[in-house]
């Protein structure tokens, strides 16, 4: 394991995977998507998960976020062990403790921007915290677009609504699956800026899967995955340093 020691960081862990494995199929068709992965995500930290396609980065995120089941190991969100939860409890956990930002199909076309933002609270039957909601909306700069339907918003604006939705319910952790994948670079930069701000200013925990070194550079820390294992970790990344590491794995992968 090349995982860097975590002991020097003292803040609490928002989510942690221990010896997490995910295996598809049996016998000849057996595919190991995740191979005994152990990783922790600290509170108020912005983590990017990187890796080539098929490396298991999305699977890792899905398992940790309670979207997918795993074969062995353990996942904890806060104090909750996910492996023991039934679908109903998992759903409630996602609703109350996790925020999501997907690459596309993020919003319900029938609801306006504000309704989309408060949807998780609506589902939970909770009243949104007005002050917090205003803060989030102000941060993503959507105050004048709240009555618009998704079809009336640009892709970047739609994704900003999605970011606001993920933050609005004050989840313990926000997961993003290639949140800038469908956006042009300017809109992408905006969305990533909001995510970083939410960590810096609001103390939010964010975990994001991406294959874009520029996006990863917004994070505090980058975790590199290859063949279902964590192969490296980087703190305070820049686009160049991320790209360098990526190249190194590629080279290693070819030589070994």
């Amino acid at each position: 394991m090349t995982t860097a020691p975590l002991a020097d960081r003292t803040t609490a862990v928002a989510a942690r995977a221990t010896e997490l494995s995910k295996i598809y199929g049996q016998g000849e068709t057996r595919v190991v998507a995740l191979d005994r992965v152990s990783v922790g995500f600290r509170q108020a930290e912005f983590t990017a998960i990187m890796g080539p396609s098929g490396s298991g980065k999305s699977t890792l995120m899905h398992c940790v976020a309670g979207l997918d089941t795993f074969s062995s190991g353990s996942v904890r969100i806060g104090d909750t062990e996910l492996g023991a939860l039934k679908d109903k409890q998992l759903t409630r956990l996602r609703r109350d403790k996790i925020g999501f930002i997907f690459q596309a199909f993020n919003l319900l076309p029938t609801l306006n921007a504000l309704e989309n933002i408060t949807l998780p609270m609506d589902i939970a039957g909770r009243k949104p915290d007005k002050e917090w909601l205003d803060t989030v909306i102000r941060m993503v700069g959507l105050a004048d677009r709240l009555g618009h339907r998704p079809a009336q918003l640009s892709g970047g604006q739609q994704q900003r609504v999605a970011v606001a939705r993920a933050l609005a319910s004050r989840p313990e952790i926000v997961f993003g699956d290639e949140p800038t994948g469908n956006l042009d670079s300017r809109s992408g930069a905006e969305v990533l800026g909001f995510l970083r701000n939410s960590v810096r200013e609001l103390g939010q925990t964010v975990v994001m899967v991406t294959h874009d070194p520029v996006a990863a550079a917004y994070a505090d820390r980058v975790v590199f995955l290859a063949d279902g294992r964590i192969v490296d970790e980087l703190y305070g990344p820049t686009a160049d340093s991320v790209l360098d590491r990526m190249k190194r794995f590629d080279a290693k992968g070819r030589t070994s």
Binding site: L67, T91, Q103, T110, L111, G181
Partner: protein, 843 residues
């Protein structure tokens, strides 16, 4: 291109399932009807051929038995002359009339109208070829009867038992001399047949020594036509002869005609079911085309012409139609077989016969199935052809769903307005012509509303949205919005339900309104406690009247006796009644004059008749009686028209001497102490416990007049159920489509915390909203139509007032909601089970 079409059918098996089911049900209805009618006509035809098998020539007398100046039928002498004709082996004279048999409990065996009595006519060998005795032998003297096998079994009678039999006179007891089987039509229709000794039957039904009919049996090898030619000159003027074959054919034609009417009614309902199916099919193909946009664009890009694209869609529809028709036809044949055994199980006697599969139902099934499917797919096919080749290049080709509905709405509004105008015009003009306007208007209004339904869906569903959000929270809110996301599809789905409910509601409003009016009329006009009549609807014997007049505790009795009265050249419909009592048993609302004058031999006249004839109290009117005798009668009173009173009332005593035989339709009875079980028993006993006479209390009378409407309504509901089933399939189809199209959305909702239960609830509520919306539109239109048709008959029904059957309407709405829940079962389960990860994965 055909291969592409075929491949597409297989690729979308599951999504075409509902279409196949809808076409299949419609085709099954059509082919089932045709096969059933064919099989039944064939069986009836065989039966009538069989019952005339032995008959070479049949002779029928049309003489008037009430005319004392001519022979009332065929005499023994006539029969003797026929018997002497060359080639005739035997002549059997027949008389027949009503005869009811009591079971040991005193109840009538068999249905009233087909209970028959006839004579046993033994030939020289002592046998009557029309009857085959399984036990005992034919009745040969007074006091003996024979009974058909089935009736004997129902009454558990054995040869030698005493059996009570009523003709229209008092009930008599006979000894059962034998039990027989026969091909007689009345028996085959589930009635009973009593055979009397010839002399007894003649006295009872005609006159001693005379017959109504005669059947001539030919010697082996003799030619029927030759016998007919020889017999004809021997007959009295009032009689006619036909060969047995001709008679059988004639009867078969009559059956065919009756069957044809039944067939038309059933096919009409099948047509409605198929019409509803069109919406479902069209929806399915619209979705398939939308999903295939890229594929179609690619084909266009590589050189397929628009026509080829349309044809490929139509070919796909044809394949679907063909498969569905084949299955539907098989189902239809099964339906026909099942229907026959079902009828047998309900004691409706149908003649046996082989299943008849002629070419017509086969051709009809496939033509209907394929044409309907292709027709419904035609518009989606054209839409597919309009997809531009460039759509293949765009990674994100938005499916055009919210295309402008302006043109559609304007056309719809115009057509609806035209239809509504037609309906209102028809309602105000009334009569047959009015009903024709309403029919045309109803069709236009229905089409118009179907065109308008997408427009209507938004505001109507917006109205109920608060009801959804309140109790169901976010699932209800999303469901309400999803329901109007694709107004065309929602519209088509709701239309299917709306059509069925328009008809169901229209019929209900009309039926309940008319039923209530009739009921009110009955209760308003009948003051009597009991009504006495014959079970077969025939006339009561005078003895019944006398017996009731003498019965204990009877305070008023009056017959309604049909009387022949002629004034000038006009025949007036008149009733002989008992003066003094008639006002106590029926409501006689005197406008001028005094009903008491009836007792003085004066007549009472209904208002309309009095007005048209110019009669008023005190006028003296010359009349001619049935026996041509003349008299001048004074108008004593004028009363309001009533369904229960003839236009002219007269004391029975005035007319009795002039009528050969009184024709008493009903007798109304009022008893001391009103309606009690004891009083009813007194009447039954007074009538000699006669199985052929029914004594009805007030409730029975109401059921008798109003009950038929309820039965009719239930039959209609049953027939319309097929259209509703297809509409339900349409709802299932639409939901399955919606769930499929919104996979990603549902996946996202699951990810951010909507649990499975609420995903299900969301889909279910969408279904309920669409179904109830369709139901409400249908109920609205149906009520309007019911009102309009009701207006045209209001004239003919006194006391007519529109009654909205809120209970039934409520039930329809609840049923529509249940339909939604039911239809959502499978799509909701699918939605809840959706794999979140595949669903949210970007395209």
């Amino acid at each position: 291109m055909f291969r592409t079409a075929l491949r597409n059918v297989f690729a979308h098996k599951a999504r075409l399932l509902m279409t196949v089911l809808a076409v299949m049900l419609g085709v099954a209805f059509v082919s089932g009807t045709l096969v059933f009618a064919d099989t039944l006509s064939n069986a009836f035809r065989n039966q009538s051929a069989k019952s005339y098998d032995d008959v070479a020539v049949a002779v029928t007398s049309y003489a008037d038995p009430d005319n004392p100046e001519e022979a009332p039928g065929l005499s023994a002498g006539d029969l003797g002359r026929i018997a002497a004709v060359d080639g005739v082996a035997g002549v059997y004279g027949r008389v027949e009339g009503f005869a009811g048999v009591a079971d040991p409990d005193g109840k009538l065996i068999g249905v009233g109208w087909s209970n028959k009595g006839s004579n046993f006519a033994p030939g020289e060998d002592g046998k009557d070829p029309a009857y085959t005795f399984t036990e005992g032998s034919g009745p040969v003297r007074d006091g003996q009867i024979a009974l058909d096998e089935e009736s004997a079994a129902k009454g558990e009678y054995e040869v030698g038992d005493r059996v009570r039999v009523a003709t229209n006179g008092p009930v008599k007891e006979y000894t059962l001399s034998g039990v027989f089987t026969t091909e007689d039509g009345a028996v085959n229709a589930g009635g009973s047949l009593v055979l009397f000794d010839t002399a007894v039957a003649q006295k009872q039904y005609l006159r001693q020594g005379y017959f109504e009919d005669a059947t001539v049996v030919a010697a082996p090898g003799a030619d029927d036509a030759k016998i007919l030619a020889a017999v004809e000159p021997l007959l009295p003027d009032s009689a006619e002869a036909q060969t047995g074959t001709a008679l059988a054919d004639e009867q078969a034609d009559q059956i065919e005609q009756g069957m044809g009417n039944l067939k038309q009614v059933l096919l009409g309902f099948a047509g409605i079911a198929l019409f509803v199916g069109v919406f479902l099919i069209s929806n399915t193909f619209t979705m398939l085309v939308a999903q295939r946009t890229k594929e179609v664009a690619l084909m266009r890009a590589v050189g397929a012409s628009r026509r080829q694209i349309t044809r490929s869609v139509l070919a796909e529809a044809a394949v679907v139609g063909l498969v569905a028709s084949a299955v539907g036809f098989a189902l239809g044949v099964g339906l026909a077989v099942g229907l026959r055994s079902g009828m047998a199980a309900f004691d409706m006697k149908m003649p046996d016969g082989p299943l008849v599969l002629s070419a017509t139902p086969v051709v009809a099934a496939f033509a209907v199935g394929v044409l309907i499917t292709v027709f419904a797919a035609w518009l989606p096919g054209r839409r597919a052809a309009k997809i531009p080749p460039v759509a293949a290049m765009n990674s994100l080709h938005a499916v055009a769903t919210t295309k402008s509905l302006v043109l559609r709405n304007s056309v719809g509004a115009a057509v609806t307005a035209l239809g509504a105008a037609g309906i209102v015009a028809g309602a105000s003009s009334g009569g047959d012509e009015g009903r024709m306007y309403i029919g045309a208007g109803a069709f236009l209004a229905l089409v118009g509303v179907i065109i308008l339904i997408p427009l209507l869906s938004r505001p109507v569903i917006a109205l109920v949205r608060p009801l959804l959000v309140g109790p169901f929270g976010v699932a209800g809110k999303l469901a309400g919005q999803n329901a109007v996301r694709n107004p065309r599809r929602t519209g088509a789905t709701a239309s299917a339900l709306a059509i069925g409910l328009t008809l169901v509601t229209g019929l209900s409003v009309l039926g309940v309104t008319v039923g209530t009016a009739i009921d009110k009329m009955t209760t308003d006009n009948i003051k009597a406690d009991y009504m006495v009549s014959m079970a077969n609807g025939g006339d009561l014997d005078r003895s019944a009247l006398t017996a009731l007049e003498k019965a204990e505790g009877v305070s008023a009795v009056s017959p309604q006796q049909d009387v022949y009265l002629q004034t000038g050249d006009d025949y007036v419909s008149a009733s002989g009644v008992t003066p003094g009592d008639i006002e106590r048993v029926l409501n006689v609302d005197v406008v001028s004059g005094d009903a008491g004058t009836l007792a003085e031999g004066q007549i009472a006249v209904a208002e309309k008749t009095a007005r048209s004839k110019g009669w008023k109290p005190g006028d003296r009117i010359p009349f001619t009686f049935a026996d041509e005798k003349k008299a001048t009668l004074t108008v004593g009173a004028v009363y309001k028209d009533s369904e229960f009173l003839s236009p002219v009332l007269v004391d029975t005593a005035v007319v009795d001497g002039h009528e050969a035989k009184p024709y008493i339709r009903q007798i109304f009875v009022k008893t001391d102490g009103g309606q009690t079980a004891a009083n009813e028993q007194v009447l039954v006993d007074a009538l000699g416990d006669n199985p052929a006479i029914t004594v009805m209390d007030r409730q029975d009378i109401r059921d008798e007049f109003g009950g038929a409407i309820n039965t009719l309504l239930n039959v209609m509901y049953g027939l319309l159920a097929m259209a509703l089933i297809i509409a339900v399939l349409g709802v299932v189809n639409t939901l399955a489509m919606s769930v499929f199209e919104r996979q990603q959305e549902i996946g996202m909702l699951r990810a951010i915390g909507l649990d499975r239960r609420r995903v299900k609830r969301m889909v279910r509520l969408e279904a309920v909203v669409i179904s109830v919306f369709g139901a409400v539109v249908g109920i609205g239109l149906g009520t309007f139509l019911g009102w309009a048709v009701g207006e045209t008959v209001a004239e003919e029904i006194p006391g007519y007032a529109l009654v909205l059957p809120w209970d039934r309407i409520g039930i329809f709405v609840v049923l529509a909601g249940l339909v939604g829940v039911l239809a959502a079962l499978w799509p909701a389960r699918n939605a809840a089970r959706l794999n979140m990860l595949t669903a949210i994965k970007a395209e």
